[in-house]
């Protein structure tokens, strides 16, 4: 039976400047990104490679745990670690999502002009959907009932 100790470390490390990172290094990067995002008022560049790498680390570890003996003492430590990492991941993505909701139109406007996209592909999709939900609701509830020259949202006023 395979044990949880058979996790290969370096195989899944993401590439940065040609050097493979260990899982521990990726985790360190994730923690750094999380704290930076927490303290920055604006949305920072996405780190989706790190997120993806950690997600697959967790997944792999979970699969290994499935195969391990129940009640194994080691297993509980692995599970606790997974819980800790999952907390960082979800807190990190949550902070970003809240910022995206707050600055949607501004972010969508500037995203096109940026060399490195700030939003991940999934976040961009969310932002676009959210923006269109917002706009159509504003139109239906308010703007379309207003006199013709007042039916537009002035992006200069409303995007932050």
């Amino acid at each position: 039976m395979a044990t949880v100790d058979d996790i290969p470390f370096d195989e899944n490390g993401s590439e940065e400047e040609g050097e493979a990172m260990t899982a521990a290094e990726v985790l360190g990067k994730l923690e750094e990104a999380w704290l930076n995002e927490k303290f920055a008022p604006e949305l920072l560049e996405n780190k989706s490679d790190i997120v993806e790498c950690m997600m697959s680390q967790i997944q792999e570890m979970e699969e290994n745990i499935q195969r391990a003996k129940k009640g194994d003492f080691k297993v509980s430590l692995h599970r606790m670690e997974i819980d800790r990492i999952r907390y960082i991941l979800s807190s990190y993505l949550r902070i970003r999502l809240k910022k995206i909701e707050k600055f949607t139109s501004h972010l969508l406007q500037t995203e096109a002009t940026l060399e490195d996209p700030c939003l991940s592909a999934e976040e961009l999709h969310f932002a676009k959907q959210y923006q269109s939900l917002l706009e159509s609701h504003m139109t239906n509830m308010a703007l379309k009932h207003m006199p013709p020259n007042l039916q537009k949202l002035d992006p200069k006023l409303t995007s932050k």
Partner: protein, 185 residues
């Protein structure tokens, strides 16, 4: 940031334990831990130490700085210095809290330690408040708050960012007003 999050970060710190069981190395995502041999001291992350202690699988060794004499000296130094002194550990507050909660039997003179850490904390927070007040009243735009720990900074952070935003706005008003004045001359 909630203090529980600062504590969460501090739980990564390494701490010595003496296990009473044996187990091979564990390959965690965050790095290897172990092997564990009964009676043999080793370093593990704090969250593991606390977990093992809760299951009565180890004895925790208090960090060097968690010592009445050292802390008394530290307190003295903090009292005498105008500035913040460097703390022996960036997570002194969190680690004290966690160890005194989960392993008071492993910490010599636990109550005295608790008092001393609290005293040092209070001294530093009072200093922090005066520095903030001086900062707000002065015209400088950057403060050097060396040697502050994350937990200390964290207790004033939301409040401070709001206050500084507000001050910044009012300062901008002044320069805006001054610019108007000169353009009218």
């Amino acid at each position: 940031m909630d203090p529980s999050e600062v504590e969460f970060i501090s739980e990564k710190e390494s701490i010595s334990i003496v296990p009473n069981f044996s187990l091979d190395k564990i390959y965690l995502i965050g790095g290897d831990v172990g092997p564990f041999n009964p009676g043999l001291q080793l370093d593990v992350p704090l969250w593991i130490a606390v977990n093992l202690k809760q299951r009565q699988k180890c004895r925790i060794i208090a960090p060097d700085w968690m010592d009445v004499e050292i802390l008394e000296e530290k307190k003295q130094e903090e009292q005498e210095s105008k500035f913040f002194t460097k703390m022996p550990c960036d997570y002194y507050m969190e680690i004290t809290q966690l160890l005194l909660q989960h392993a008071p039997d492993n910490i010599p003179k636990a109550d005295e330690i608790r008092m001393l850490v609290k005293d040092i904390w209070d001294l530093r927070i009072a200093k922090l408040r005066s520095s903030i007040d001086i900062f707000v009243k002065s015209d400088v735009t950057h403060a050097m708050l060396n040697y502050l720990t994350l937990m200390e900074l964290n207790t004033v952070r939301p409040f401070l960012t709001k206050a500084l935003d507000h001050i910044q706005q009012l300062r901008n008003n002044v320069s805006y007003g001054a610019a108007l004045w000169s353009s009218q001359d």
